[in-house]
């Protein structure tokens, strides 16, 4: 079992550009959540997807959007990048039936906006 895999591992983008980050959940999991971890801080919840729909959203602007595919994999899209979007983006997968009793995290994508 490969666990949760994210790609790419590192990314450098210019202000104003758009970026897409990808996540494959742990085998058997149906729910994907995305978190942003700024340097020196704890992860902040962006949103969660289940059955290809956004179930809940954190306090992030509409520039952040996502998608979940029928195979449960997910993408996070960020438009009009700002310097403040530089962070580690973490994907977590879980089983909806277990709520948040067992969430597995990927190693993250380090996004640098210059």
């Amino acid at each position: 079992d490969a666990g949760v895999t994210q790609s790419p591992t590192h990314l450098i983008k210019t202000r104003g550009q758009q970026v897409t980050l990808r996540c494959s959940p742990k085998s058997g999991h149906d729910t994907v959540s995305w978190y942003q971890q700024a340097l020196g801080q704890g992860p902040q919840f962006i949103f969660q997807y289940y059955e290809e729909e956004e179930r809940q959203r954190g306090n992030f602007p509409d520039r952040f959007s996502g998608h979940q595919f029928p195979n449960y994999s997910s993408e996070l899209n960020v438009n009009a990048l700002l310097l403040g979007d530089s962070a580690l983006y973490l994907c977590a997968s879980s089983l909806l039936a277990l709520m948040n009793t067992e969430a597995f995290f990927g190693q993250g994508t380090r996004l640098t906006v210059v």
Partner: protein
């Protein structure tokens, strides 16, 4: 809204001595609480979880935590620190569909 406060941003211990990482929570109902560890350049790993069963929770790598409702605390302990324990530790509370993380405690282990 649920929240957690990690009382120490940095903790330094000598190898072989006990570890105590402190966490207080705020919740309007019986919470689900977790401790996660993050090693440099690695993802978050679940150490242990409390979901209203036994108040003393045992986790991986010799860590344990005790849920104390009267003190609204969920402190993480380990009897004897190992060099490999050096990492950042997060106290986490579940709020509906999301996890709410504390600011983290960086544990340094001196040889």
């Amino acid at each position: 809204a649920q929240s957690v406060t990690q009382l120490d941003s940095h903790v330094s211990v000598s190898e072989g001595t006990p570890v105590l990482l402190r966490c207080n929570y705020s919740s309007s109902y019986s919470p689900s609480l977790f401790w996660y560890v993050q090693h440099p350049n690695k993802g978050l790993q679940l150490l242990l979880k409390y979901t209203s069963a036994a108040t003393l929770v045992k986790g991986i790598n010799g860590f344990e935590a005790e849920f104390k409702k009267s003190e609204t605390s969920f402190h993480l302990t380990k009897p004897s620190a190992h060099m490999s324990d050096a990492a950042e530790y997060f106290c986490v509370v579940s709020e509906g569909n999301k996890l709410v993380f504390g600011a983290g405690t960086i544990l340094r282990v001196k040889s």
